[in-house]
């Protein structure tokens, strides 16, 4: 090979090829180091979480224990599950957060399709509102929303919706929930990328726009749906700001995790002011973290392959 190529090539070209070959050999090595190091930065908290969950609290003060617990125990996990009231909390979270996430994917898809494929008056203005939805921090509108939900309706017909699931479902159904603007944008971009012939064919065959959307566009948009669904579930699952604003005593997993400190002290040691060293408290907190992300991790492991492919193909970018 080398002799063959060197015949018709000048010195500079040979030098170029040689340098290229050397770079190709060295680069994978660098790539591995970079990826491994940064991957470690990302995985470190997770590994630490697992390591902490299964150790006794005394191990926290033992300098020889770095990763592998000396006294293996499941008690911490049990106590934390108990303090978080896990089965009930999980059901509440599924009903409230995951339910909303699901509804919002559908409503955002419909809206995104409307923006992508139809021309109507005021479209630009309305779409700029979608962009506004992305830009305005939820904290700006949280307070007025609270007072609005407090007396929802007109005049004497108003009802207090605070502490009911409506405060989260109503915005989700109307595509105005958590980060809805971003989701509408993703769907719009995606539907814009699908070929127009699909719809024209459906129209000629006598299919109305709503049926076209359901039977022609939705099956073609599976990748986008999957991606947005994962995002939506994650955002709703992790949300504590909105659920803390509109509920006084609803126990979703995120909220329970935030209150884990006091809850644990009350349950395990009977008083809020119990004196446990902060280092020892870490075991319960890490166990709480592990518990609350496990469902998401399982979902991610199952979906990640499709999810990453979906991003590549979905034309989120186009």
């Amino acid at each position: 090979m080398a002799e063959n190529t060197s015949q018709g090539l000048s010195k500079e070209e040979i030098g170029y090829l040689r340098r290229k070959k050397a770079a190709e050999k060295i680069f994978p090595f660098f790539r591995f180091i970079i990826l491994f190091g940064l991957g470690f930065v990302i995985l470190y908290p997770l590994i630490y979480m697992i390591s902490c969950t299964f150790r006794e609290r005394g191990d926290m003060n033992d300098p020889t224990v770095m990763w592998i617990p000396r006294n293996f125990t499941l008690n911490v996990l049990k106590e934390t599950l108990d303090a978080m009231d896990f089965p009930n909390t999980l059901i509440t979270t599924l009903m409230l957060n995951v339910g909303c996430a699901f509804v919002q994917v559908i409503s955002c898809a419909v809206t995104g399709y409307g923006f992508a494929r139809f021309k109507f008056r005021g479209q630009k203005l309305l779409f700029s509102i979608v962009i506004m939805m992305i830009l305005v921090p939820p904290q700006v509108i949280a307070l007025p929303l609270y007072s609005q939900f407090r007396s929802f309706g007109i005049g004497s017909l108003s009802v207090n919706l605070i502490d009911t699931a409506f405060t989260m479902y109503l915005p989700a159904i109307t595509a105005n929930g958590i980060r809805a603007g971003l989701m509408i944008l993703i769907f719009r971009q995606f539907f814009k990328g699908l070929p127009r012939e699909l719809e024209d064919a459906a129209y000629i065959d006598g299919c109305g726009p709503f049926r076209t959307f359901l039977q022609v566009m939705v099956p073609n948009a599976a990748a986008a749906f999957l991606t947005v669904f994962l995002f939506s579930v994650v955002w709703y699952w992790n949300d504590y700001y909105v659920s803390a604003s509109f509920f006084t005593d609803t126990r979703t997993i995120s909220l329970m995790l935030r209150n884990l400190d006091t809850e644990l002290k009350q349950r395990l040691f009977d008083t809020v002011s119990a004196d446990i060293s902060p280092r020892e408290q870490i075991v319960w907190k890490e166990a709480g973290c592990l518990i609350s992300i496990t469902p998401l991790l399982i979902l991610y492991i199952f979906l990640q392959k499709h999810f990453i492919e979906g991003i590549e193909r979905s034309g989120i970018v186009g």
């Binding site: 070209e13 340098r19 770079a23 680069f27 940064l38 991957g39 930065v41 990302i42 995985l43 908290p45 630490y48 409503s107 419909v110 809206t111 409307g114 494929r117 139809f118 021309k119 109507f120 479209q123 309305l126 509102i129 939805m133 830009l135 921090p137 904290q139 700006v140 509108i141 307070l143 007025p144 609005q148 007396s151 207090n160 109503l170 159904i173 109307t174 595509a175 726009p209 959307f213 995002f231 699952w237 992790n238 949300d239 504590y240 995120s254 995790l257 902060p278 408290q281 907190k285 973290c289 609350s292 992300i293 998401l296 991610y300 999810f307 990453i308 991003i311 590549e312 989120i316 970018v317």
Partner: protein, 307 residues
């Protein structure tokens, strides 16, 4: 259903007209929701920022006070300006770092190598966790008691590796500037890596849009990897550099764990609605201005293939 038929029949609308009606049909649900749950609250909060608001059992009474609230938050409030400064400075230096870092990682993850799927899965993992309270705990933010993740993490690095490196450098009297720089990087690599999940994702998707013809042409012309990056990759992803810039700015501005948001939340417990609204609007004004400036500056340098 019957209503629709009535509408349709008499004038026999053209295909285009009907399509535009259907368009309203598709977005109508969102439109209703936006008016109720976005525009009205937004307007209310804007009005509140000029008023003295007292709320009891659902009825709010307003008293017009003009710019007093804004004055209060900027001059009288003991912490607001400080928090604002802190947030702005942090966003200012972190955003470029996050964007550069995620572009770098995206280029690497776009190459073909063994274990690429695994590497991608790991790098997108923060997307799942970083918005929730779990991140606040592992980055040692919520807990008033013990810094868990970040502190532990940086102790591992700063005392063992970075510390030793610094000692080594100290011998040659280089340490003054280097020390602050190196410790800043090692302290922040955690938060930068964890904040760039979605940005990597967007860049990776952008890299897919580079046509293979461009790549082949570059190879035939004998471009080095360095040249390829600057002459092919960079122009193609430049629109997404802007997108990622904006996304990162918004993300860090709206993050409930940043100082301004914490201050606003703390005041909410005191029911000072007027002051809070003015703070939120001041803050929002700054975001919009920042994004406006970035967009204006960037639009001059961006390469668009179409349009």
């Amino acid at each position: 259903m019957s209503k629709k038929k009535d509408e349709k029949r008499p004038p026999r609308l053209s295909y285009e007209k009907r399509k535009s009606l259907y368009g309203y049909g598709f977005i109508s649900l969102w439109l209703v929701g936006t008016v109720c749950f976005f525009l009205v609250p937004l307007l209310t909060s804007f009005i509140w920022s000029f008023c003295d608001v007292t709320i009891d059992t659902g009825n709010s009474s307003l008293k017009w006070v003009g710019l007093e609230n804004f004055e209060h938050s900027l001059t009288t409030d003991p912490k607001y300006t400080e928090c604002l400064k802190e947030t702005l400075i942090e966003t200012l230096w972190k955003t470029p770092l996050i964007v550069i870092f995620s572009l770098f990682i995206a280029v690497i993850l776009n190459q073909k190598f063994k274990g690429r799927a695994l590497a991608r899965a790991v790098f997108f993992l923060p997307v799942i966790i970083a918005t929730g309270p779990v991140y606040a705990i592992i980055s040692g933010d919520i807990s008033s008691t013990g810094n868990i993740g970040a502190a532990q993490f940086s102790t591992m690095f700063s005392t063992n590796m970075v510390g030793e490196l610094l000692q080594f450098l100290g011998i040659y009297g280089l340490s003054d500037n280097m020390e602050t720089m190196i410790s800043a990087i090692s302290d922040n690599i955690f938060s930068i890596v964890w904040a760039s999940g979605i940005q990597i994702l967007l860049f990776l998707a952008a890299l897919q849009t580079i046509p293979s013809s461009a790549r082949e042409a570059a190879q035939l012309e004998g471009a080095t990897a360095w040249e390829y990056f600057w002459k092919i990759t960079f122009p193609y992803v430049s629109p997404f550099i802007l997108v990622n810039f904006i996304f990162t700015v918004i993300d860090s501005f709206t993050n409930p764990t940043n100082p301004v948001m914490k201050r606003i939340l703390a005041l909410r417990d005191d029911w000072q609605f007027g002051v809070i609204s003015s703070m939120a609007w001041l803050y929002f004004g700054i975001i919009i201005t920042a994004i406006g400036i970035i967009t204006f500056a960037a639009n001059k340098m961006i390469y668009y293939e179409t349009e």
